[in-house]
């Protein structure tokens, strides 16, 4: 076996690669065209959001949470709000919950349409990309009309929503659903469920069996595509979702079989597009009148949160899977002691890396795209020695020293004395 080692080729997919939208590295060991090992390297896109949050109050973090990811900005914001609400015991008005459902499902539609296009692009079928992204514009326009922005609509706040849905918005949403039902969805189904090219490329690519999906704790459409009935909205009876009759979608209802491949994940996404439209319609029907914020004024809210103690966990089914935010309060301060989130991409990434072993190199981009990776929200600190491969725990002081060394390495002209202590880092041990 050792003699064979030299024929193995290692190719890096990333950090910069046309198939990846964000910097991440997959080192793929190949035997011919067959993959024999996949190594995932995270940490190219660390933005230190958790650290930045230590200097912001609860309301300011809302806007930071939104910027974790551009595609599921509402999901992050919403989950964070749920965590803080649980921590401080704030009751959210029912109308606000319905508005959250509507915005959340609109976001799911736009996220799924985006991902369907991306998957089409990675198999070289650019027409699907342009079709589904053209359809996506309509949802984006509606989100802009409601929230004021196409991407970070900041509609959520702790204890409710900041903007009410008006009659014209509701009409626009219903118009859009009508249009999607009649014109967009038949085309999307035609392309993603019945096109021979798509089927040839996506069937049996990146297969995640049910057992692996459970073992690696895969989330969202990745898990449901493998036949795991896992959906936070359904399992946790989240907010008003039980009244709307939400069900986890598995490919079984559409194609009759569950294989756990890329095709099944696409089927789940197409199914969820239908489901989201239904949910929005029901939510609009059932939405009661009333106020939309538990605490009308931000100052009062901050004062209330300052007194809060304990910790809270928010969960929500983001388009990519289960999103968890954890907030720990500091009594007497309006900044949280700890804010931590777990994104669906993180478990999915390792599940897909496991699933890629034994497949062809041509399946790598499409399999990675099929879990809809959001790498900017996944990156955390992980220090690995490149030479020995050993991991070690670094203290704050080490990190500062390393960053100063790196700066000097990159720019030898910086001649200032390295100041290890007191470079804008909060003292007092909240880290």
């Amino acid at each position: 076996m050792n003699g064979k080692l030299e024929y193995w080729v290692k190719i890096p997919i990333g950090p910069i690669h046309p198939a990846l939208e964000e910097p991440e590295k997959f080192i793929i060991t190949l035997d011919g065209e067959r993959i024999i090992n996949v190594d995932v390297k995270l940490g190219y896109n660390l933005r230190g959001l958790e650290w930045i949050a230590m200097r912001r109050n609860y309301i300011q973090i809302l806007y930071l949470a939104e910027r974790i990811c551009g595609i599921c900005s509402f999901s992050h914001n919403h989950t964070y709000s749920r965590a803080v609400e649980e921590m401080a015991g704030i009751e959210v008005p029912e109308r606000a919950e319905y508005i959250r459902v509507i915005i959340g499902e609109l976001e799911r539609i736009h996220s799924h349409l985006l991902n369907l296009g991306v998957v089409g692009h990675t198999i070289g079928y650019d027409t699907t990309l342009h079709l589904s992204w053209l359809a996506r514009e309509r949802v984006m326009d509606i989100l802009e009309a409601i929230g004021g922005n196409r991407v970070n609509y900041s509609i959520n706040t702790i204890g409710g929503v900041r903007r009410d849905l008006e009659e014209k918005h509701i009409r626009a949403i219903l118009d859009m659903i009508e249009n999607y039902r009649n014109e967009v969805m038949p085309k999307i189904e035609e392309i993603f469920l019945y096109d021979p090219t798509v089927e040839a490329r996506l069937r049996d690519a990146g297969v995640i069996p049910k057992r692996i999906a459970i073992e690696y704790s895969a989330q969202g459409p990745t898990a449901r595509g493998s036949g795991v009935k896992k959906d936070v909205r359904y399992n946790e009876k989240l907010s008003v979702y039980p009244d709307l009759g939400v069900k986890p979608i598995t490919p079984k209802e559409f194609t009759g079989v569950v294989k756990g491949d890329v095709f099944d994940r696409m089927v789940v996404r197409v199914g969820e597009l239908w489901q989201s439209m239904e949910l929005i319609e029901r939510a609009i029907d059932q939405m009661p009148e009333g106020k939309i914020k538990a605490v009308p004024k931000d100052n009062t809210l901050l004062f209330q949160l300052k007194k809060a103690e304990g910790e809270g966990i928010g969960r929500y089914e983001a388009p990519r899977g289960e999103l968890i935010h954890y907030v720990m309060a500091q009594k007497g301060k309006d900044v949280p002691a700890k804010w931590k989130m777990r994104e669906p991409t993180f478990p999915n990434l390792f599940a897909i890396a496991r699933a890629l072993v034994g497949e062809q190199v041509a399946d790598v981009p499409v399999a990675i795209a099929s879990i809809d990776p959001c790498l900017s929200c996944t990156d955390r600190v992980a220090v690995v020695d490149a030479n020995t491969g050993r991991k070690k725990v670094l203290t704050e002081r080490d990190l500062l020293r390393l960053s100063i060394e790196k700066t000097r390495e990159l720019n030898p002209n910086v001649r200032a004395k390295p100041e290890v202590v007191g470079v804008g880092c909060p003292r007092g041990g909240v880290l």
């Binding site: 080729v9 342009h130 053209l134 490329r201 399946d363």
Partner: protein
């Protein structure tokens, strides 16, 4: 004197085909963009790209060997040599007996030089692209050659001056055989040739060696600047020449005879009409194909060639041959 005219004509053809093939690149991009509901780049974008690439510095990898720089030059030289045997609405300039074999060799040589350049670059992406290019090259040439030689063999029976040459198609064409069997056979072979053409210019199903989203342009991964420009031009000419082959076999008719022109005007008119036919063939085999299909895996493409195209070529060849063999009276 004759040699001088031939050389001047050859240079003229080279200049014209370079222009036409790059122009087709622009038309193709615009058409595909319109099919995908996009605006698309300007019509002359390939010219801008080419000029910009020529003016830019070419980066050569540290691990690259001499062939890395040589391959693009040789590829362009090969494509220019190819033009001497390409029928462009009139008989090839240097056409002679049996030049079809040379034609196919030169056409394959461009692909082979891409492989040489890619392997010499030392990049893993390029190496995988080169592997794929070789595999698909081997698969696609078989059915095409079988089809082409069957047609030529059948035509040479009709009594041509230069058998097995491109000039044959200007004396007789495949539809002239006239029997129902041969027409059916020719239709089957047309499909084989269309698939071969799509594979030769690497679009749609067969965009496998360059696979942008998988291998970051594969064989071309390490090329930049002037070297890339040479390859781009060589590829554009190759697309035009490959389509010319399909046109000359299946749609060889000129229009100069009908409007009663002779001499130079006839040549110009035929050349323009031929270009139009080439664009039409490329539209079907390149633009439409690219707009409605994605890329296959390499094993699927190879399977397609060996289990679909090769049997189709054999069936087509047998249908063509049946009259001569006397199986059906």
């Amino acid at each position: 004197m004759n040699v001088l005219y031939a050389t001047l004509g050859f240079l003229g053809i080279y200049a014209y085909v370079s222009f036409a093939s790059l122009l087709w690149g622009g038309i193709d991009r615009k058409l595909v963009a319109r099919m995908q509901r996009r605006m698309g780049p300007p019509l002359l974008q390939p010219f801008y790209d080419f000029l910009k690439l020529v003016s830019k510095e070419s980066i050569i990898p540290r691990d690259a060997n001499r062939f890395f720089e040589l391959a693009p030059v040789l590829a362009l030289a090969t494509s220019i040599a190819l033009l001497a045997y390409t029928p462009l609405g009139f008989e090839p300039l240097f056409g002679t007996k049996g030049d079809v074999i040379l034609f196919i060799y030169l056409l394959t040589l461009i692909g082979f030089l891409r492989v040489v350049g890619a392997v010499s670059s030392g990049s893993p992406y390029a190496q995988i692209g080169a592997q794929r290019e070789m595999i698909i090259l081997v698969s696609r040439e078989g059915p095409m050659m079988l089809a082409l030689f069957t047609i030529l063999w059948r035509l040479s029976d009709l009594g041509v001056t230069k058998p097995f040459s491109m000039g044959t198609f200007y004396e007789h064409n495949v539809w002239e055989l006239g029997t129902p069997m041969s027409i059916m056979g020719a239709v089957v072979l047309l499909l084989v040739f269309m698939a071969w053409l799509a594979s030769e210019i690497e679009v749609g199903y067969f965009d496998i060696p360059e696979a942008e989203t998988e291998l970051a342009e594969g064989t071309m991964a390490e090329y930049s600047g002037r070297h890339l420009a040479l390859f781009e031009l060589a590829n554009a000419i190759k697309a035009f020449v490959s389509a010319s082959l399909v046109v000359v076999i299946f749609f060889p008719w000129g229009i100069s005879g009908y409007i009663g022109l002779t001499g130079l005007p006839a040549v110009v008119i035929d050349l323009l009409f031929h270009t139009l036919k080439v664009f039409a063939v490329l539209f079907v085999s390149m633009s439409l194909f690219r707009a409605v299909t994605g890329r296959l895996r390499i094993n699927q493409a190879v399977t397609l060639f060996w289990t679909r195209m090769l049997p189709a070529a054999i069936v087509g060849a047998l249908l063509l041959a049946i009259d001569t063999l006397g199986v059906v009276a």
